[in-house]
């Protein structure tokens, strides 16, 4: 059962000035996989996501999205980003637009849809995240969990082939993380390929097809969640996962 990978990251390095954040990172992701990326802060998780969608193009190394090498010179980066949905820790909703407007603007400006068509699709995406009745609210009138669900709907509207989540629940009150994780779980069930940077270990256990532990800009260890949690090979993995699992359970 060898399907073509949806994403292939090969020996990616990324430096900001003198600081090297990614140190030859490699990872291959199959369609419909849900990869949960964990690691101590500063290990390069967020940088990796931003390299993948070329917000911070890698210093060296190559990345393929489906058939296309997106790090090749001359690639239309705007087109690449359309195929990669991204959800941010701080939501980053467009403050001057309603929930509906946030989802619609990419449809009309980037996908060049007509207004009515964009409206209908945007309403459909809001429905998917359970926020139709909030369509005409501005971001300031929404709770954190609702904001993040609108942000997910906004990304879904672009019809991405893969979704990147950069600590999607870290800025939320504990009682609001559930509604966001539920939406993500639903997406996984529908077969969306996802890379999730998160320390929600419950989510990782239930939804992830693989857990990747990174530190110092490289993969230390990876495997199915059961193996990673029960019998990790590296002592470092064991120590880190035990620490955040304790935290997770302590918080519940």
């Amino acid at each position: 059962m060898t399907t073509a990978p949806i994403l292939r990251i090969e020996d990616v390095y990324k430096s900001f000035g003198e600081t090297r954040v990614l140190n030859g990172f490699s990872l291959t992701i199959q369609p419909q996989e849900v990869v949960v990326l964990v690691g101590p802060s500063g290990s390069g998780k967020s940088t990796l996501l931003r390299c993948i969608n070329l917000l911070h193009p890698p210093t060296s190394g190559r990345i393929w999205l489906e058939e296309q090498e997106i790090t090749a010179p001359g690639v239309n980066q705007d087109k690449v980003r359309q195929r990669i949905g991204m959800v941010f820790q701080e939501f980053n909703l467009f403050t001057h637009l309603t929930a509906l407007g946030n989802v619609m603007i990419g449809l009309t400006k980037v996908r060049k849809m007509h207004k009515q068509e964009a409206h209908d699709l945007a309403m459909f995406e809001l429905e998917r995240v359970g926020l139709v009745e909030r369509a005409h609210h501005y971001p300031a009138q929404l709770s954190g969990g609702q904001k993040q669900r609108v942000a997910i709907a906004r990304a879904l509207g672009m019809d991405p082939h893969i979704m990147l989540f950069d600590e999607p629940t870290s800025a939320l009150d504990p009682e609001l993380t559930g509604e966001v994780l539920e939406v993500m779980q639903q997406l996984a069930k529908e077969g969306m390929t996802m890379i999730v940077v998160s320390h929600e270990m419950g989510f990782a256990r239930q939804v992830a097809s693989r857990v990747v532990f990174m530190e110092g800009g490289i993969v230390v260890e990876e495997g199915p969640p059961a193996q990673m949690f029960e019998q990790p090979v590296h002592e470092r993995t064991r120590a880190f996962l035990r620490k955040i699992t304790d935290l997770d359970e302590g918080g519940q």
């Binding site: 701080e90 980053n92 990419g106 300031a140 990304a155």
Partner: protein
């Protein structure tokens, strides 16, 4: 009673200058808006070369008295292109206001949180698309209070075009004063008109500010 009758007659005469004042102010504000927004964009988002030009424009223009710019436009440039006193004066004011509006919009562009640009790029917008449809609409709202302040300043600076003979409020007040030898009545009428204009403008701008306030 005679004072008030004089005042009314005078007001009636000066009132014709009101439209000229409004015209000069609007032309200057619009020209300044175009200069201001374009220059601010170049300063914040342009390459080093454009940033340089934009900075030079706003530094030099702000260092020179507006009246000097009016003279340059009317006595130097108007020799080569056909410019009426109205247009020379209004364009000069607009050019000067543009430098101040640059600073207002530069601050506004810079206070839009950087996550807005990142999120716009992440859904596949080009840089220019993001500036146009995400950053600019927010910057305009953030700029409104400062812009309102500039609008009232331009309204008052519009009196300066009287030096090239544009028959606006002050110029007409001066004519009345010279003819009737009653400067108090003449300038009191001018004062009332300016006061009314300024108050009206402030009200309008405050309404706009409330209407388009960004909820953060």
């Amino acid at each position: 009673m005679e004072f008030f009758q004089d005042l009314v007659t005078t007001l009636n005469f000066i009132l014709q200058g009101l439209w000229v004042t409004i015209g000069v102010t609007i032309v200057a504000l619009v020209v300044g808006l175009v200069f201001g927004v374009v220059t601010a964009m170049l300063r914040v988002y342009g390459n080093a070369f454009f940033q340089r030009i934009a900075t030079v424009y706003s530094v030099i223009v702000r260092a020179v008295p507006v009246i000097v710019i009016i003279f340059i436009l009317y006595f130097v440039i108007a020799r080569f292109v056909n410019l009426s006193p109205f247009w020379a004066g209004s364009l000069a004011l607009g050019f000067a206001s543009g430098a101040y509006q640059t600073e207002i919009f530069r601050g506004a562009f810079q206070s839009v949180p950087s996550g807005q640009m990142v999120a716009a790029r992440a859904i596949g917008m080009s840089r220019w698309q993001a500036i146009q449809s995400i950053i600019f609409p927010q910057a305009v709202r953030l700029a409104l209070p400062g812009w309102g302040n500039e609008a009232t300043l331009v309204l008052k600076d519009s009196t300066l075009v009287f030096v090239v003979g544009v028959p606006e409020i002050l110029r007409r007040a001066q004519q009345v004063s010279a003819r009737t030898l009653e400067p108090f009545v003449a300038y009191a009428a001018a004062l009332l008109l300016y006061l009314a204009l300024t108050l009206l403008t402030t009200q309008l701008l405050q309404w706009l500010e409330r209407r388009y306030r960004l909820q953060m």
